[in-house]
């Protein structure tokens, strides 16, 4: 009985968190945009415009649901649900703190990769169901982009998994701090099991993993369809991309999925490369900073802090870089990121055989 209640409570808690995060992130995004473009951003609603997004969501919830006459009614209705559920399910296997994880499975990482690919199907469904040429063009672009960028993402994940030897995200996170049983070596030569802190993070365990994280970050940015890779939406060319026809709560769900995806990939990057819930502070002699800042509450705090920082970087990039053209986008993926990711994977294999084992 308690199990059943937990199985219901945990998703509800995660959903509440995602909704709250989205409200906060939209506000932060507009403020960052204002800062980058040297203006103020929302200022009218509440102190410093802090109630702006709450007002926005109240407006969206009240709106009438409009379905275009020539749209495919069923597909049009289901699409936002599929898009959101696909991203939402991904949170099931990501750890927040040590053993504090909704589903501790051996196939965690693989599961996320598979479930995220369903998101693409939902986008295609939305584009086709809307029966609008801008929507269809937007969703075609989105799929071409997501399918291509899944390859560098997958390869960079394999690069890490080759070194960690597990697909269980909980174990991957444990292996990057003072709680581990295996040996951790900073850049492959300095044993840092006792010291912990950021020295023990995966990204510093081998030099090529820094490059791999960059590949992962760029490619996941494209998976989220965010600027500079936002040609699926491209307001100036396609009106609004695949969600042109959506309004009210359906649009809110598509928006929620976009921000949930941002947070999901940020968290995935944190767990795989940036130490997950492990503290960035090392033990220095008698000052046991790493020991003091490890625990359940600290774990959740570090996961949140690191992920929010990465989301902040994503927003900063969005408002700094111009949009890539479609052909530039494809050549970046196939001619730069994919070969580089293959090289990293090969180095990882050699590293595993010669240095770790």
């Amino acid at each position: 009985m308690i199990d059943t209640i937990l199985h219901i409570l945990v998703p509800v808690a995660i959903f509440t968190f995602i909704a709250a995060f989205t409200l906060f992130a939209v506000y932060a995004e507009r403020k960052i945009a204002g800062f980058v473009q040297d203006r103020l951003g929302p200022m009218e609603t509440g102190k410093y415009g802090s109630l702006q997004t709450i007002a926005d969501i109240l407006k969206l919830l009240q709106k009438e649901l409009i379905t275009p006459t020539s749209a495919d009614k069923i597909l049009f209705r289901i699409a936002p649900i599929i898009i959101f559920v696909a991203v939402f399910t991904g949170f099931a296997v990501i750890p927040w703190a040590k053993d504090f994880i909704p589903a501790n499975t051996h196939t965690g990482l693989f599961f996320i990769m598979a479930i995220i690919s369903i998101d693409a199907l939902g986008i295609l469904m939305a584009g086709w169901g809307s029966n609008n040429k801008y929507s269809l063009l937007g969703s075609m672009r989105a799929i071409a982009q997501m399918v291509s960028y899944e390859i560098p993402v997958g390869l960079s994940l394999i690069t890490v998994v080759m070194l960690t030897q597990t697909l269980n995200l909980n174990e991957i996170a444990i292996g990057q701090g003072i709680m581990t049983n295996g040996s951790i070596k900073f850049l492959g030569f300095w044993e840092v099991n006792e010291i912990g802190g950021f020295f023990a993070w995966n990204i510093f365990q081998a030099p090529h993993l820094i490059v791999t994280y960059l590949i992962f970050f760029i490619a996941t940015l494209a998976e989220c369809n965010r600027a500079p890779f936002d040609i699926p939406e491209a307001e100036s060319e396609l009106v609004g991309g695949f969600h042109t026809e959506y309004g009210g709560i359906q649009f809110a769900f598509i928006f929620l999925a976009e921000y949930a995806m941002m947070f999901l990939v940020a968290m995935l990057g944190v767990v795989l490369f940036l130490g997950g819930w492990n503290t960035p502070l090392p033990n220095i002699g008698a000052i046991r900073l790493a020991d003091w800042t490890t625990g359940l509450a600290w774990g959740i705090f570090w996961t949140l802090a690191k992920s929010l920082f990465i989301v902040g970087v994503q927003m900063w990039i969005r408002w700094t870089l111009p949009r890539l053209r479609a052909d530039q986008l494809m050549s970046l993926c196939w001619k730069v990121l994919t070969p580089l990711a293959f090289v990293c994977m090969a180095i990882s294999a050699i590293w595993r055989i010669l240095i770790i084992a």
Partner: protein
């Protein structure tokens, strides 16, 4: 609880598969195909094959189905009309042939059920006795990886060469020919 979920997945798979073959609207049929594949993945989970279930979603939903939808949306309307107009297409068999096929498959299934002896296969019993049984909470992926690189290394390599051939063929077909 588990048996309810099992039958829910099974009904979903069978029901949407039946609907799928009867649907005239190809776009909807392809999205229904997604539900069939997804329900099949759910059924694999009940067979304790979580790796296969996830691979099913990854390969079929993330790859094959999206390519099918892509091909469907890029092809022109005239071609689609030909496909949707079911008479005269070569996939559309006359009724009696379809019935023969269905009956043949049914006999096969009935024979299979009759052969089944209501008991565990001997190799599972042997593994139970020797305590070498692999239980669902074990790390199956490690087992699969070890088996692939030792016991099944030849089939594994044959598959990789086959995939390589497919890749080379695809890149050859999509190459621009400069001479013409």
């Amino acid at each position: 609880m588990e048996s309810i979920l099992f039958y829910a997945f099974a009904t979903l798979a069978i029901g949407s598969a039946l609907l799928l073959v009867n649907l005239k609207n190809i776009a909807r049929a392809l999205f229904l195909f997604f539900i069939v594949l997804f329900a099949m993945a759910g059924l694999y989970l009940f067979a304790l094959a979580d790796f296969v279930a996830i691979t099913q979603i990854m390969v079929y939903v993330g790859g094959v189905l999206i390519l099918m939808l892509f091909a469907f949306m890029l092809s022109n309307k005239e071609l689609l009309k030909d496909l949707q107009d079911s008479s005269g297409s070569f996939l559309n068999m006359p009724r009696w042939q379809a019935i023969v096929l269905a009956l043949g498959f049914l006999t096969l299934l009935i024979l299979g059920i009759r052969e089944w002896q209501q008991s565990l296969p001997t190799w599972i019993q042997q593994a139970r006795e020797n305590n070498t049984e692999i239980i669902p909470t074990d790390n199956n992926i490690q087992q699969i990886g070890l088996r692939f690189m030792t016991f099944y290394v030849l089939p594994f390599e044959v598959i990789s060469i086959f995939l390589m051939m497919a890749l080379i063929g695809a890149s050859h077909l999509s190459r621009k020919e400069r001479n013409r």
